[in-house]
Symmetry: C2
Subunit: 305 residues, 2 copies
Amino acid sequence: MISRLIRRISETGAPICVGLDPMLTHIPEFILSRAYEEKGETLEGAAEAVWQFNRAIVDAVADLVPCVKPQLAMYEQFGVPGLAVYQRTVQYCRAKGLIVIADGKRGDIGSTSAAYAAAHLGSVQIGKSSCAAFDSDMLTVNPYLGSDGIKPFVDACNAFDRGIFVLVKTSNPSSGEFQDRLIDGKPLYWRVAEKVVEWGRSSMDGEWSNVGAVVGATYPEMIGELRGLMPHTFFLIPGYGAQGGRAEDLKDAFDRDGIGAVVNSSRGIIAAWKKDTYARFGTEHFADASRAAVLAMKEDLAKVC
Amino acid sequence: MISRLIRRISETGAPICVGLDPMLTHIPEFILSRAYEEKGETLEGAAEAVWQFNRAIVDAVADLVPCVKPQLAMYEQFGVPGLAVYQRTVQYCRAKGLIVIADGKRGDIGSTSAAYAAAHLGSVQIGKSSCAAFDSDMLTVNPYLGSDGIKPFVDACNAFDRGIFVLVKTSNPSSGEFQDRLIDGKPLYWRVAEKVVEWGRSSMDGEWSNVGAVVGATYPEMIGELRGLMPHTFFLIPGYGAQGGRAEDLKDAFDRDGIGAVVNSSRGIIAAWKKDTYARFGTEHFADASRAAVLAMKEDLAKVC
């Protein structure tokens, strides 16, 4: 799996992931009102607006980037209609050649993680049929339960040629509350990183492992430290842009060839139309603003990789 | 919220949670084949089987127990049809007076946790309407991202009179890999427990907090330790029965009045029909086997609370 992501990064020249996290406040009023008119101010109406919004953004950026990262919570909040649109978004993106990273931060005891892995990375056996549910390429997972909660995901990576990103150091302000606490002289995130390296050895795909790590752009000093510890672990880096992470903070994530990480931006791209910088596009052309924001991000990142 | 759970526990005399984690292997063949005949060996067919199975179990045990805990992964693996049946199960259980604990182990950065809280514990604003998506009473959450990932759930507890259980010490074999590592002389699960106490102070409901803790039955020595540290934190205890936890291991979770925890059993109850002990009921009467298993568990737990 990871070699496919790396190839798409090379082809596009953009180690960029577009975060498809459509909060209703990111969606232009004309889309919302059209969806509400058709389906009411209901979960169905909201889901329809999300779909119209997503499709336009994806159409505008698909040729520029290797991957997208829909945040499952943003669809789950709209219930069953929301998850139907999540599924439709995954299918639409994959049909356009985009790699889809499901941001679910799932994780549980072994048998339950196996069900999550089947839901998002593999398929489930129903009688004599093998059926895929959400069928994304990669999934973010939470390490708090340890190896037996992660192993089913790694097994799915191997069985279905998929990938995972394990939360190591997250981008949020209080991530240090537990992640930075010292265990035998090293922070918890370091101990998790050691395990990610171990888990990753059983799912190598060339130089890199299908078991990647989430490392926040907001803690640049840790990026270099973790790159040293995890030379074959691909990074998914959230927190660029809206959360405060800057390109120059990310240089240590990449190797000499500019490979090693994909940087996510959600609001900064999908809600670009709301920023003064892109006001010239007008609300109707919100997706063009997203395209311009991707191009600007590509230029910005070119400084460091 | 938590006072409602405690009241229902007192009324039923059973600090028991029935884990509605319907793997297809738990479902009798006659239900599966009927569902596949109607809807095919598809996600829809599997979801239909799960629904028929759940409904029978719920009908058989609803008067005996205060709560149920559907495991979201088991529905998510069947995609959109699976989640529609999850929602239907939640509604069916609540209509029968059962408290529903959604076992999702969700957790993310602040704005995303807010979306999960809206999805499962609250509602989302769509135009002028307030719409609830999955609408359960309580939700399990993962603490790895720290306070700002938990606060939106606590806010939802206060706004909508709901509850959460934060993972402290999980029941799986490798839970100690990170959770037991020492930080300033105390294990990580202890450090998480300290935070759970802190978070819980802002959502008290009588003597107990709406912010509870998940503490596995499989690590009995830690239950007493955590009870001492967290005197006002209600425990959700997984791992009883099939995972190896025994009633006598749980006595420290309860106070003098037998209050303080709800013990979950999933396989042990919903797949009771597969055990020799309950073979007398026959496959057709699988739900009666579940009822008998609940009664046996109630008797077993009566020794300690």
